[in-house]
């Protein structure tokens, strides 16, 4: 059943790609490792491409398995582009380790002024995020 194999392969690849967006949009906070590494998604995609390759080998003269293999490769390429090219941001070194952290004086969400010096004597994690949510 090369058609069944090829179709199963396509479904796996689609599940890998669509599943990634489901994780990012719905569960990003709980599955940060999947968001960063996308390892389960790539495993699904590799399995899907493997199934379509198998389907092409079993029925080398049929065009449907070949077409679905092509679709799978394009989908994988699109996914790779999105993950590793389109979402890249400019490189910046940030502050040097071992240097004094630059002082700041900013308002918190209650309108109260917060200074770096308020945290003297205690470790402080500063998180810069992109905002515009």
């Amino acid at each position: 059943m090369p058609w069944g194999l090829a179709l199963g392969g396509l479904l796996l690849v689609v599940a890998g790609v669509v599943g990634y967006f489901a994780v990012v949009l719905l569960l990003a906070g709980r599955l940060a490792a999947v968001r960063s590494g996308a390892v389960p998604n790539w495993i699904l995609i590799a399995m899907g491409i493997g199934l379509t390759v198998l389907a092409v080998r079993r029925a080398p003269n049929r065009w449907v398995p070949k077409g679905l293999l092509g679709v799978n490769v394009v989908l994988a390429g699109f996914f790779a582009h999105l993950l590793y090219v389109a979402t890249t941001v400019p490189a910046a070194p940030g502050p040097a380790r071992g240097a004094l952290a630059p002082a700041f004086e900013l308002s918190d969400q209650k309108g109260q002024v917060v200074r770096l010096s308020d945290f003297r004597g205690t470790p402080l994690l500063l998180v810069f995020y992109r905002g515009h949510w």
């Binding site: 940060a32 979402t87 890249t88 941001v89 470790p123 995020y129 949510w133």
Partner: protein
């Protein structure tokens, strides 16, 4: 730290139930001081790059992570490991 105004941060803190300070750096002065401006990062506006900076009790930068990709953030385990090193060499 974020370019969003205080009111936006108040809403975020309320909606997400956050009790740590969310600081508004609307003019990007602090973002620039930390070398983290992302020019044209959002619809033609300048914003901050995603970054985590660990500062020790003496105000010294001890660990940094500046994201090169929108998707990638340091894991809680990475950050906790960095915090653990502070105790080792105070």
């Amino acid at each position: 730290m974020v370019v969003d105004p205080v009111e936006t941060n108040a809403e975020l803190a309320r909606n997400a139930g956050l009790d740590f300070p969310i600081l508004s750096d609307a003019d990007l002065r602090t973002t620039d001081a930390y070398g983290l401006r992302h020019r044209d990062g959002h619809d033609g506006h300048d914003i901050a790059l995603s970054a985590s900076i660990l500062v020790d009790g003496n105000g010294i930068v001890r660990w940094t992570h500046v994201a090169r990709n929108l998707r990638v953030r340091p894991s809680p385990a990475d950050i906790l490991a960095a915090i653990d090193t502070l105790g080792a060499t105070p």
